[in-house]
Symmetry: C2
Subunit: 233 residues, 2 copies
DNA sequence: CAGTAGATATTGGTTAACCAATTATTAAGT
DNA sequence: ACTTAATAATTGGTTAACCAATATCTACTG
């Protein structure tokens, strides 16, 4: 018999099997917040997978705040009751890779907020970093070079200036895929980029002047062009 | 000499050291999208950390879409240019744990959108699940039991019905911390929960009737109470 | 000289042994 | 009988050896 390497999809299925197993076990044993899960070795034996797989699954549930590992002690149910635990795990198991449209939708939502917050909260240092990103973008466009990266970095600078760490994180999560798709579908062509400079400058100015309303308005106009491209491609 | 175990913070610093090292290396060698990174073993030697630490750091950069590992072949720079790579890595290195206020801010933003989308896109199956969550919440409140979990599960059901996978994911990420803090600060006391039933029902009804405007309005009213509690505590 | 087949080295991934901290159990002492 | 000290077992975390797929080099053939 030939031993085949597991594909990424198969690995994901193994992980889902484990996560479902942990959920069932929590229910079976009526584990409550603070209770200890069986050891990784026991879990790997019961679920018939390697300890490494178990550790990966636990890490994922830790990421979602459902479990908490403590060295040389054990893995514990986080401060979340059994009802929420079940509901959330089911949601996690059902999660699918987001489509490009979802990403754009989310990005627009986030940015219309971060730009407002940035106008309210930006420090002088934030302003400097945004200016640098803005200049880098303009320079590339004027040289007729591709500037998708510089574009996104300007937007990330706004996210940082918003002072909201979780929005900043979420922007970072969706940005790479956005860049890849933009480049693939040539969303930002040269003509559009020319307009982009003016629009970026308008956004920057509004943030500099601490005018949240105007900042949001300018961002909306900026996205208007993107919208057209995204939903026509 | 006594060997001490590394705390979680120290481990995080090691990871940041590695990520910065990888960034410097990409710059030094002018690696472009598709180029291969040095092997994990070389990196671990050069940065003087274990291969496991290297793998963790690479995994993190893979999560943010900056690197891509291929078995038995190597780790490659994703389809993102050196400028964006530098900017994003710097952002990642600077990321801090979000404060509770940031989480609430983000949650409100997300939910005012997901509720609109849910009203537009909900399937009958979505409706059933939301109804189940709604009933579970009502039942608990009427029994004068704590219902923070059921509350959040209703909101997660809305996120699912929005049909936007990334917003759904983001809601899942912030939910546990929200639950923990709500319970800690007793944000949702019994009287508020009584009101909550009516508010949830109004939201549900609006989604059922596919009325996005009304759904958003009702969600806003629902959050009005929360807002007061969050910023007074 | 080009091209190909085979051997060798390198790669990310996996596994099992190991580690020190913790926890549970036992034994001893008062 | 209770407390405490010592020991054994268990725990998550870490490390190094191992694996098979891949990439690279070598030697041979036409």
């Amino acid at each position: 018999m030939k031993l085949e390497i597991l594909t990424k999809t198969e690995n994901l299925n193994v992980q889902k099997h484990i996560i479902a197993g942990i959920r069932d076990l929590i229910n079976l044993k009526n584990l409550e917040p603070g209770d200890k899960l069986p050891s990784e070795r026991m879990l790997s034996e019961k679920l018939e997978v390697s300890r490494g797989n178990i550790r990966d699954a636990i890490q994922k549930l830790e990421f979602y705040g459902l479990l908490k590992s403590i060295p040389q002690s054990g893995t514990f149910v986080a401060n979340i009751g059994v009802i929420a635990m079940n509901g959330m795990i089911d949601d996690i198991l059902r999660l699918e890779e987001p489509e490009f449209k979802s990403l754009v939708e989310t990005r627009i939502l986030l940015e219309l907020k971060t730009v407002r917050l940035a106008a309210l909260r930006r420090t002088d240092e934030d302003l400097d970093e945004m200016k640098a990103a803005l200049d880098a973008f303009s320079k590339k466009v004027l040289n007729k070079e591709d500037a998708v990266q510089e574009d996104l970095l300007f937007h990330l600078a706004i996210a940082k200036a918003s002072g909201n760490s979780s929005m900043n994180t979420f922007m970072l999560i969706i940005t790479p895929e956005i860049i890849t798709n933009f480049e693939k579908y040539h969303v930002c062509d040269k003509d559009l980029a020319q307009k982009g400079i003016k629009e970026h400058e308008a956004i920057f100015k509004a943030i500099k002047n601490k005018d949240p309303q105007l900042a949001k308005k300018k961002m909306k106009e900026h996205f208007k062009e993107l919208y057209k491209y995204c939903y026509n491609v």
